[in-house]
Symmetry: C2
Subunit: 338 residues, 2 copies
């Protein structure tokens, strides 16, 4: 269900690396302002080029309008498409590569949003893949490009490289100790942001965070990627040091938290998505710290994705109300941890 | 450790019945106002009579001052002595019968507080036992008694019969549904009180409540006991009906609560007394409702008593700080539920 995450166990802290490029066609109205006909026209142009460039069956095509709402949600939960693409349902569509590591989004806020997504800390590799897809498309499409400002985009914050590089990190120890607050301030000062994934505002569900660049102008792609790569390595080390500190100074407290979380995931009969992510996150911390005797739990990040509302409904192939989802989610999780 | 509670499984709702009589010696100063010498004199007088009346070894004598604070706490937690007796340490003492079902407290707020405590709903039996002890003592001691007002006591609220009859009930379903609030109002109107045991104010720890009479004047002992007995039966039936209602209408929610509680008691590495009582209470509800497959858990009320701070320290025969107690408590509970 979430192919890209399958290999994300390679690093216990850095879950994934993502590159996103924003591009637009020179003579077409930005999708937020275009008529349905204009958008359909843009889509058709891009579809022709994609079909010409890539071999049959390498990418699968999806029109958002033709997907069940629960399937749109699932693609979004798995980070394969953006919330902005879903908002543009009626105009928007996407191509997903078979390995689920590359997406070509059409008629999001920009005509094109190219994304590559790799497990672990592999921003350079993700960048090379994304750049190649971009080069292919640019050879056939007339991009909106300004010699001084660079790539032109719908929102001024993306003008220039159109690049957003980001890493997803699992930071339970820095969250529990509150060190995450200081990190947020520090990153802001060097033009980066860290924010919770899935949460409202700065709240992080499941202790999952994303670090990304705020600026797309004034720095080259290589500079942006190098900065994020270095910071991710630094944050990863801090998280590891914090875990060691907890193990040395507050071992009984962390053991208590971990075993209570195991008690919940093995026993709950109903559980919300947010609580499940929280509890599974703590179990993962326990597994990473070697605190859990006997059992070995793998692919816990994948489990966190798989029990989100869209994925739950995709699995059972029907639309469910909140209580039904909470019950099914608890069953899936109990089964996993049995 | 808590003999009287051993048989309290006989009724899943009414845990125990207690009778308490307040008595004073005619010519002695009330203990709250007496000098240490006067109190010692009263104590000596009563000791002589008790030793004369009861056979050797039937009762064990304890002087509060000579007990470790943790042991005072333990006797209080197990309802064998009153908080008021502990407050009078330096003057106070008590005789505890071997079966732990009768206590003669000396120099509490009154010179004598006689208590009988039986498992289940057995107020009449408790009354007969307490009356007999009272009759024995009255035949040898000069009680303060007024022909019109009855037995005179330190606090006017006890004047008359000097009787407080009470029952301890386990009311998890009525607590969860909030019906307990209506019950509190209703009982107040007929001169009875219901309050949480161990909790602050009206909060009930472990869903344990005590119903008792507020008035000691104007009603005979038999009338008071009959009223409490009838009300306890009524409340017990309401609790049972509420449990049936929950099972019919909110089964998945109650299953979830029960299994989560099992997850906690089987896994926690640290747990406070209040949380432990809460979780064990929910497990007991699950056991009483037949929700728990496989395992059969007995004596859960006894376990709730045994993990309180005084009992925990009595068991390990040393004074412990809060964290040590929380860790030991979690170990005892895990061991029990393994």
């Amino acid at each position: 269900m979430t192919k890209w995450i399958k290999d994300s166990e390679e690093d216990p802290v850095v879950i994934s690396s993502r590159i996103r490029l924003a591009r637009n066609l020179k003579n077409d109205t930005f999708p937020l302002y275009s008529s349905k006909e204009e958008a359909a026209n843009t889509l058709e142009k891009i579809q022709e080029v994609v079909q010409e460039i890539f071999s049959d069956g390498e990418y699968e095509f999806y029109n958002l309008e033709q997907l069940e709402p629960r399937d749109r949600m699932r693609f979004m939960e798995n980070h394969l498409i953006s919330p902005g693409l879903v908002e543009q349902t009626g105009k928007s569509a996407f191509y997903l590569r078979n390995d689920e590591r590359a997406t070509i989004m059409i008629n999001e806020e920009d005509h094109l949003r190219l994304q590559t997504l790799l497990p672990g800390l592999r921003l350079n590799e993700a960048w090379e893949e994304c750049e190649q897809i971009d080069d292919y498309l640019e050879s056939k499409l007339d991009y909106a490009f300004h010699p001084e400002y660079g790539y032109l985009t719908s929102c001024p914050t993306n003008v220039g490289t159109g690049l957003r590089a980001s890493v997803m990190l699992h930071l339970p120890a820095m969250t529990m100790t509150g060190y995450i607050m200081g990190l947020m301030d520090a990153l802001k000062r060097i033009g980066l942001t860290i924010r919770g994934i899935y949460g409202e505002g700065t709240e992080a569900v499941g202790h999952l965070y994303q670090i990304s660049n705020q600026l797309t102008l004034g720095e080259t792609e290589q500079e942006i990627i190098k900065k994020i790569d270095e910071i991710a390595t630094e944050v990863k080390n801090r998280e590891k040091n914090t875990r060691n500190f907890i193990m040395e100074n507050r071992k009984i407290e962390i053991e208590d938290k971990v075993y209570r979380a195991i008690g919940i995931v093995q026993n709950a009969r109903m559980i919300t998505s947010n609580e499940a992510m929280e509890q599974i996150s703590i179990v993962k911390l326990g597994a990473d710290l070697g605190l859990i005797e006997g059992e070995k739990y793998n692919n816990l990040i994948e489990l966190m994705m798989n029990i989100k509302p869209g994925n739950i409904q995709y699995r059972s192939n029907k639309t469910m109300d909140r209580t039904e989802r909470d019950v099914l989610r608890a069953n899936i999780i109990r089964e996993y941890f049995r």
